[in-house]
Assembly symmetry: C2
Homo-oligomer: 330 residues x 2
């Protein structure tokens, strides 16, 4: 289902529009949950977003990827210094709305169309809501805004305009992390090589995983030529050498399973059940061959499909908790 | 089925034993087929090899990977200068045979056990056969040689002794090719970036492939989040920018299909039929979900499974011919 969003950029409008993305922290500064940050991971490719800043909606965006855990793109180059700035990065392709629309001037008709909870501007006064970053506004409010200005619908829908794909973002973060390792004066050359090889699931990390795991948790395959040693907490986001090499931070997965797991399309519950994101069409899962696994293990053929992948020990459970919270696209 | 091999190293014994591999050209210098080079791609993980050089068998090896198209490992660093030295690299884990065994001294009992065709030493005189590199000798001749000396069977069977895995070899070749691109004074920075991004199937290369291919040839999936733009002739082996970016040199494949294709476990016939290597256990294929695809497309559930993947145009056919000859593990 297509969703319609409204973002209150505040001061970052220029970077976010030029950079073709949205970025938010994951929680409030005090660590509390914030629904408008949670909305970042609910946005899906094809959703549309109104860009609001300084009293005007000047851009309309189309979401091009699911949210990715990452620092702000302008901080990628120095990402190692900003790991604590980890947030949700949402790639969005922006198109100008001409002339910009001032919602406050039309609050009489717009107000009743806005949601009662978590509204991005006050439905009565039209004043901005400081506590809201990304708000779900529904199609009527969205149409009301864009109806009074010109928008190049074709440019908005056209694919390929956004370079910031999942692969590009994650590879840039991997490259930055690798450069930080290679320039770390506290590591000798063997330690550096070991950490860098873990990036591709090779060497010491793979051995550490193989000491715990014997088969792919989804397919049961044990043939090493068909298995990837996949990080649970992604290598690009790990903060220490221990996390990058810890056998408890890995699973042996077939390439399809590794891809789905790394992109956050599947995860595992505390009880060892496979959780499948509703964003993956059941027909695609079937074509990937997972309906068979689901049936064999007693799960359902329709998403959200859940079946049991066996038990995990306490150290694996910690990493899996991170994966559910920070990688899985719920 | 386990095979028993005999290699005539000639002068390269030290590099090959220390480096944990065998390496041969793909054909004779005149371009003719040589069965003892073809044997390189028939060797499988778990096969055992006798190392013969200077009149003695001094080592016994266990094959740890299928053969990979690559220059000699000692040339990896300068691989760009050696692309014409492309041959078969076979990772082998070597264990000493103590004391070394001289086959000529036992040719009376050994000779009748050697194969009549392509024997590695003459069955009557025990003199080395210059034209043979890797020979299939069968279990009896193998046992006859090792029976008269001490061999640490446990060390031979132990896994993990060989760093030269498929992933390590191909990543090293990829890294070398990338450094050659980055140091190529004939390319500007945009061209370099475009070529490097093609390594991961991104950017211009992916767009070029998407202009021709709409779905995974094996699963029918069209969801871009589940598809990889996979090179037919591997990026690491391409010799020109044109090959690295050519849309005809790519297919859109799901991660499992990409993995099987890149490792040479599947390929496509001229008529568009999927060819599955007999080295992939049918039960593993089933667990990867390909039995379903096979059934839907009228193929057989037992390997070698063949079903039709649609037609390819002439420019794709050229790259697919390379893949069948140089990548596919027959």
């Amino acid at each position: 289902m297509q969703n319609y969003w409204w973002v209150n950029h505040k001061k970052t409008v220029r970077q976010e529009v030029e950079g073709q993305y949205l970025w938010s922290p994951k929680t409030n500064a005090n660590g509390r949950r914030n629904q408008s940050y949670e909305n970042m991971r609910e946005a899906s490719p094809g959703d549309l977003v109104l860009s609001y800043a300084f009293g005007s909606v000047g851009w309309v965006g189309r979401v091009t990827e699911f949210a990715i855990t990452a620092p702000k793109p302008e901080e990628f180059r120095n990402a190692g210094a900003y790991w604590d700035h980890e947030g949700w990065l949402l790639p969005v392709y922006w198109t100008p709305l001409t002339p910009p629309v001032r919602p406050k001037a039309m609050i009489g008709t717009l107000g009743p169309l806005l949601p009662k909870k978590h509204a991005p501007i006050a439905p009565d006064t039209g004043n901005g809501n400081q506590n809201v970053y990304l708000a779900n506004i529904g199609p009527e409010a969205f149409q009301e805004i864009i109806a009074s200005a010109a928008l190049d619908q074709e440019a908005l829908q056209r694919g390929g305009g956004n370079r910031l794909t999942f692969d590009v973002v994650t590879e840039q973060l991997n490259d930055v992390a690798q450069r930080w390792i290679e320039s770390d004066a506290g590591l000798d050359s063997t330690e550096k090589e070991t950490l860098v090889r873990a990036r591709r699931g090779q060497g010491v990390f793979r051995k550490n995983v193989e000491a715990r795991e014997v088969a792919c948790r989804l397919t049961g395959i044990t043939n090493p030529a068909l298995l990837i040693a996949s990080h649970i907490k992604p290598w690009r986001i790990c903060k220490t050498a221990k996390e990058r090499l810890d056998g408890a931070n890995g699973l042996l997965l077939t390439p399809d399973a590794d891809h789905l797991f790394d992109r956050g399309f599947i995860s595992f519950s505390e009880g060892g059940e496979v959780i499948v994101s509703p964003r993956v069409p059941p027909d695609d899962l079937r074509r990937l061959g997972f309906d068979q696994a689901m049936q064999q293990r007693g799960g359902m053929a329709e998403a959200p499909a859940i079946w049991n992948a066996g038990s995990f020990d306490a150290s694996q459970a910690g990493y899996l908790g991170y994966h559910r919270q920070q990688v899985f696209i719920a």
